[in-house]
Amino acid sequence: MQSQRSKRLVNGLLVNGALLFIVLLWTVPTFGLFISSWRDREAIQATGWWNIFPHRAWETVRVIDVNELGLDATAPMLIEGTTATFEELRAGVETPNGQRLTWIGNRRLGRIEVQEQNWTVDWDFTTENYRQVLGGKDFELTRPDGTVEVIPGDDFGGAFLNSLAVAIPATIIPILIAAFAAYAFAWMNFPGRRVLFIMVVALLVVPLQIALVPILRDYAWLGINGTFLAIWLAHTGFGLPLATYLLFNYISALPRETLESAFIDGASHFTVFLRLILPLSVPALASFAIFQFLWVWNDYLVALIFLGSNPETEVVTMRLADIVGSRGNDWHLLTAGAFITMILPLIVFFSLQRYFVRGLLAGSVKG
């Protein structure tokens, strides 16, 4: 009996330990980015973000003037009981009492810093990165040595608004269109109903790459390349098969009696749809809405193709990819920019996770 219990305890520890390990593995990348986005630009470049945790680092406690001691840098020297050459001192020499001697400067005019290892944290947090990334105008940066540098901001603020202007209609429009269609497929009789629905099912897995070249040609002909309308329609087209399929599954399963009694009362299809079906379908609408919103907000390819010609309508993923391409080493901008692109999806995701999971479970194959 005792062994049975201890076995269960070990099992529990193993399971929770493994889970904790995986959770850490999955969380640390995002956490590192988040922390770095608040660190000073110089600090990001100099040390790893994990230095915000307590760690031991060398700190200068005393400075020895080389000339005062009258040392000859061409031969091994005796300093504080340690003998070392100039080259060794440049790299840093550890003394037996745990200190470190480092020669700073050249042979003649140098100084030796006596350093000790102490526990420290690098908490030099700042909001500058976000200010620079969000601002659209020139941004004044004061360097530690007092010089002022003017750099253009990255206008993530404008891109964020563009993303909103793209993602909100590109979420609601397909849902509206799909809900009307799903209602017709479920509760109306018309010629071609079955054939048209088979088309919806067949299009579920068609890769959107197939449509990009022809649609871009159509847009060029219509003169709507680079407009919001163009990308709303594109996202609507690519999201519609899944939306129609999911909403059909939900709407066709609603109880027949409710609808019939409404029709007996003389309600038209339009009224029934508006007053009865839409309110009853809120769970299904919400789960697809989250799915589509995340998809559109995070999309890069479709935006690149249909908005790429117009810098005025650039969305956040495009802005971020631009900085990766042009200034891939400016980590203070990349981390802050990346976090700005993530913030809204993360809020949506955490506040509406239940609906999102339900939507995934209802069917999740997307073309």
Binding site: L19, P207, Q209, N298
Partner: protein, 383 residues
């Protein structure tokens, strides 16, 4: 019933007037609506208003416009007689969806196939039929797709993406689901692993570029992976761009997709595992099966349907992988995949024939899944 003749006349007159008015209205209201929407379009395209105003107008115009279209067309149909209404109303409901599906997905498959039969500029404009057929290059684009060095590299890499990326995603998802199912911290644990689902591939590219960041040997590493490697006494590397280990440098990109998608697999498996009746597992335990046997003999067969669904979804997704490669390496260092080649050929090299042939190859690879879906649909008989 007593009718005045004058009254009768008046009612005929007013009826005609009402009909005329109604027809006028039926024409005028859509016209006004289209005019208002066109003005909105012009306002948005001009884009000289403040950004926040443009955003708000765009949202209202887009969403309101679509709603208004439905309302107007329905109103038009309801003005007609009963017979017309019954015949036309379904098409008001289903028409926009069908039109968009045909325009955006159904027709493009044929149009792209047609384009793939021509050279880089597509079929000649305004040419006669014989000229058009004369300009055809036949299947030579497809020949190039399967022989070109970069395309062969892309096929090999996509195969790696599927063999490692899709497989490990599914296995990780299953492992996490099983672990979480037995843990007290199931909800919170699953939330954290699910979180990357909300992050874009571009954002994930930045996150992982930062992890892979490399510094010269003599300065502190700021990338986590290299810091660990150096801490263990190894050499810092620029992992995804590490030319010496081609093609295995692709694995460092594949890891990102696993990180993003494992949560998706986990959620579906988790729900499926909850559906296994507990007496089934209990019976297995009573018969003396250990946990591993229970997993392979009871759990896996029971959730086989979910495993197939998740696997096909992840494979289809992996097949079309684009953003992460494009943002991280741009296809350099032998990391090209089919979708990046498609983009490069179609939109950078502007070779529409070749690009279209690549898109058709992508389409052909998902056709088995399409057939499977259609067969499933036919079996449901719910329709």
């Amino acid at each position: 019933m007593q009718y005045d003749s004058s009254n009768e006349e008046l009612s005929t007159g007013s009826r005609i007037l009402a009909t005329v008015l109604r027809i006028l209205l039926m024409v005028a209201i859509p016209l006004i609506a289209f005019f208002v929407m066109y003005q909105g379009f012009l306002f948005l395209r001009a884009g000289d208003a403040p950004k926040w105003l443009v955003t708000i107008v765009a949202i209202i115009w887009g969403v309101g416009g679509v709603a208004a279209l439905y309302w107007i067309f329905n109103w038009l149909v309801e003005q007609m007689g009963d017979r017309w209404r019954a015949a036309l109303q379904p098409f008001v409901f289903v028409g926009p969806a069908v039109a968009i599906l045909i325009w955006y997905l159904a027709l493009p498959t044929f149009r792209t196939f047609w384009l793939s039969l021509f050279g880089r500029d597509g079929p000649p404009r305004g040419a006669s039929l014989s000229e058009t057929f004369g300009a055809m290059v036949g299947l030579s684009n497809y020949g190039a797709v399967f022989t070109d060095r970069l395309m062969r590299e892309a096929f090999r890499n996509n195969l790696m993406w599927i063999v490692f990326g899709a497989t490990i995603t599914v296995l990780m998802g299953l492992l996490i689901a099983v672990l979480a199912d037995r843990s007290k911290f199931e909800r919170i644990g699953k939330s954290f692993i699910f979180l990357p689902m909300a992050i874009s591939f571009v954002g994930a590219g930045v996150i992982w570029n930062f992890i892979y960041e490399v510094r010269p040997e003599n300065v502190p590493q700021i990338g986590l992976l290299n810091a660990i490697v150096v801490g263990l006494g190894g050499q810092p590397q620029d992992w995804p761009r590490w030319a010496a280990v081609i093609p295995w440098n692709n694995l460092f990109l594949i890891v990102i997709a696993i990180w993003l998608q494992a949560g998706f697999a986990m959620v579906l498996f988790s729900a499926a595992l909850k559906g296994i009746p507990s007496d089934l597992m209990e019976a297995g335990r009573v018969d003396g099966a250990n946990e591993i046997q229970i997993f392979f003999r009871i759990m896996v067969p029971y959730i086989m349907g979910t495993i197939i669904t998740v696997s096909t979804t992840v494979v289809i997704f992996t097949l079309k992988i684009f953003d992460v490669v494009w943002v991280m390496t741009g296809g350099q260092v032998s990391t090209e995949v089919i979708a990046t080649q498609f983009f490069r050929q179609s939109f950078i090299a502007r070779n529409s024939g070749y690009g279209s042939a690549i898109a058709i190859v992508l389409l052909v690879t998902v056709i088995p899944v399409m057939i499977y879906n259609l067969r499933q649909f036919r079996e449901q008989e719910a329709f």
